[in-house]
């Protein structure tokens, strides 16, 4: 992984937020992820690309321990958040997930009102003392998710009544309401039409100001558009990791080149 190390040194945009060393993931007997070493930077959008089934979503789920919910899934190696091993016994996954938020492939708003969807996280984590605090959090998150103007008059209506793109932005608003430090996005635009996709991509770019964003995507154009750094996964291995411009214009690994030019995947 010398290539990755080199690429990393060239970047100065942020501190290392999440770091993985020799990470392995097994599903029962299947070895799904092998020897992944990666450093994810703060205030940066990192894209994970690769063909279907290459393990990029699996690895993403390891970063906030969502794979704990999958029976017989096992993680080895070391993954740290701000230098702290997130698989350490002392780490509470509940708290970890508040710090590392996640947005899913299909918009999954709760069957509750728009307001309640956003307020859910702050409420369970006890982040708002008064109703006014909560109102403020909801409003600011909806604003940041570029949904405020569309939703401000219908906060009491169910979130499931919104359009697909609005639902996904609602889910983003919900995720940032717990003020996470990292936001994981698992193909957030794959279920959306082009216009909604453009809105969400714009949003991702704005979120970079405050969060470290990790996005798994199928679309290389999307990775090129929104990310500063890109990691290419293939068959459970991290093949190449570096600045997005370099990966797309001058890949070092032949597999990366084949993928980008459309020969595999």
């Amino acid at each position: 992984m010398d290539d990755a190390r080199l690429a990393e040194r060239a970047v100065t945009t942020g501190e290392v937020k999440i770091s993985a060393r020799k990470a392995q993931v097994y599903y029962g007997e299947t070895h799904a992820i092998r020897d992944v070493d990666v450093d994810i930077l703060d205030k940066t959008v990192t894209a994970f690309i690769g063909p279907s089934g290459c393990g990029k979503s699996t690895f993403l789920r390891c970063l906030n321990r969502m794979n704990d919910t999958i029976p017989n899934c096992r993680v080895e190696g070391r993954i740290t958040l701000d230098g702290e091993d997130i698989y350490d016994r002392s780490v509470d996954p509940v708290q970890l997930r508040a710090r590392v938020g996640m947005v899913f492939q299909k918009p999954n708003p709760f069957p509750k009102s728009i307001y309640e969807n956003v307020a859910y996280g702050p409420r369970i984590h006890g982040m708002a003392r008064t109703k006014a605090d909560l109102d403020q959090i909801v409003e600011s998150c909806l604003r940041r998710a570029a949904l405020w103007n569309e939703a401000k008059d219908r906060l009491d209506e169910p979130g499931t009544g919104l359009s697909g793109g609005q639902q996904q932005r609602l889910c983003i608003a919900r995720a940032i309401a717990t003020s996470p430090e990292v936001l994981l996005m698992d193909e957030p635009c794959s279920a959306l039409d082009p216009i909604a996709t453009a809105q969400v991509e714009e949003l991702i770019d704005e979120l970079r100001a405050n969060f470290s964003v990790v996005i798994v995507t199928h679309s290389m154009q999307q990775a090129a558009r929104v990310s500063q750094r890109t990691a290419f996964f293939h068959l459970g291995n991290l093949v190449e990791y570096g600045e997005t411009g370099q990966i797309f214009t001058n890949p070092r690994d032949p597999r990366t080149e084949s993928y980008i030019t459309g020969r595999i995947g």
């Binding site: 702050p122 982040m127 959090i137 409003e139 003020s179």
Partner: protein, 427 residues
């Protein structure tokens, strides 16, 4: 509006945040605990249910027998009038012979110990072989119920005499018999080989078992073909129109109609309008068939639906008609599922009581039915009759009858599970 919530990261180590987290984890443990407690409660209830039934029922699987040497004197029994002889007197002679020193009062008590069936047992032996007159016949017969209870330890000897079912004299007399080695506990085959009786020590389930068998047979013969026919039509041929919707809704609702209402239907239509015989297992089977029909239809449709459409397309593709496709390809593949559903439906029907009560299958009948049109009881109604009987001995017999019923249910459900595991395919 200022951004207060974002940008400024939450301090996850602040004391109030930590205590909040602890509280939340405590809530988690609580819910888990309550859930586990709920399910363990359900388990405990099951254990208590089966435990109490077994504890009260297992004693009815054995029966106290007494061996009597009965001298058949020619004085009492005349060869030409054997049936009309004073057999009660013969029994009293037997007891007197056994205990020559007993007083008259004691003899009276002793004579009450064997079940009333004893004199008939002796009579039948002599009727079969008149040469026995003048000799001694040895019979082994059940003792009457209170003494059976005493021997099984169900009557506490320490209770004051006035509160006890057996008086001191009776216990003393019985103890003499025990000492004489005349009393023994043996397996109670009569429980399944005899029909009902007013005397607990003689009552058995034969009539009920045969009645239930006939009722289930009728139920199966009627509901199985009709259920499969209806299910095939609805699943494979019915056009999607209001009529088939109506049939579908109707079947779903029929499955949830209280069983006692089916009993009313049977009473008014089968007995009242059609004039079919009362208490007959055939009529019981008819009512049960109507109740089982929705179960079979729903199970059959599910089994048909599980057969992948590719099979149908393949057969249609080589020129089979739709009926040939269904009867030659789909139905055989769905058969394990259909049989599983049918057996489960029949098991439900076997335990069904209320509709059978209404068509009179709770009559007191001391002979097993010879045909499905004779009056009979069924296993669950027999349980109901015995549970209602005041004699103490029927308590353990009721439990024993329940154990027999549960045994059949376990057998049937086991068969259904076996069929499912053995033959059902996953597509």
């Amino acid at each position: 509006m200022t951004d207060i919530s974002t940008g400024t990261a939450q301090d996850w180590n602040a004391p109030e945040v930590r205590s909040n987290l602890r509280r939340r984890h405590r809530g988690e443990r609580w819910l888990r605990g309550i859930g586990l407690a709920a399910i363990l409660t359900a388990f405990a209830v099951l254990v208590i249910l089966l435990g109490s039934l077994t504890a009260s029922g297992y004693k009815a699987f054995s029966q106290t027998f007494i061996t009597l040497d009965v001298p058949v004197s020619a004085d009492r029994v005349k060869p030409d009038r054997i049936a009309a002889a004073n057999w009660r007197g013969v029994m009293q002679d037997a007891v007197a012979a056994m205990f020559p020193d007993a007083t008259d009062a004691e003899r009276k008590v002793l004579a009450a110990i064997p079940s009333s069936v004893a004199q008939f047992a002796v009579r039948d032996r002599v009727l079969a072989d008149p040469a026995l007159i003048g000799q001694t016949v040895t019979v082994s017969v059940p003792v009457s119920d209170p003494f059976d209870q005493l021997h099984k330890g169900l009557i506490d000897r320490a209770t004051p005499e006035e509160n006890r079912r057996l008086k001191d004299a009776e216990i003393a007399a019985f103890d003499r018999l025990v000492e004489a080695g005349k009393v023994a506990l043996r397996p109670n085959w009569a429980l399944v080989t005899s029909a009902d009786s007013r005397f607990p020590e003689l009552a058995g389930l034969r009539g009920a078992l045969i009645g239930s068998f006939y009722a289930l047979l009728t139920c199966f013969v009627i509901s199985f073909p009709i259920g499969i026919g209806a299910a095939i039509y609805l699943e494979e041929f019915a056009p999607k129109n209001r009529l088939s919707d109506l049939i579908e809704i109707n079947i779903n609702n029929l499955a949830a109609v209280p069983s006692v209402v089916f009993g009313l239907l049977g009473l008014a239509v089968f007995l009242g309008w059609f004039g079919l015989p009362r208490s007959a297992p055939f009529v019981g089977g008819l009512v049960l068939a109507l109740m089982t029909l929705p179960t079979i239809i729903i199970a059959t449709r599910a089994a048909l639906k599980a057969v992948p459409p590719s099979i149908r397309e393949a057969a249609l593709g080589i020129g089979a008609s739709r009926q040939q496709v269904v009867f030659q390809h789909v139905l055989p593949l769905a058969m394990p599922g259909i049989l599983t559903g049918t057996i489960i439906g029949l098991a439900q029907a076997l335990g069904e009581t209320a509709p059978l009560l209404l068509i009179g299958m709770n009559a007191f009948i001391t002979a097993a039915p010879a045909t499905p049109f004779d009056a009979a009881t069924a296993l669950p109604t027999q349980i109901f009759i015995w549970a209602d009987s005041p004699e103490r001995g029927f308590v353990s017999r009721t439990s024993a009858a329940i154990l027999v019923l549960l045994g059949f249910l376990i057998l049937m459900n086991g068969l259904a599970i076996f069929l499912r595991n053995r033959f059902e395919r996953r597509w």
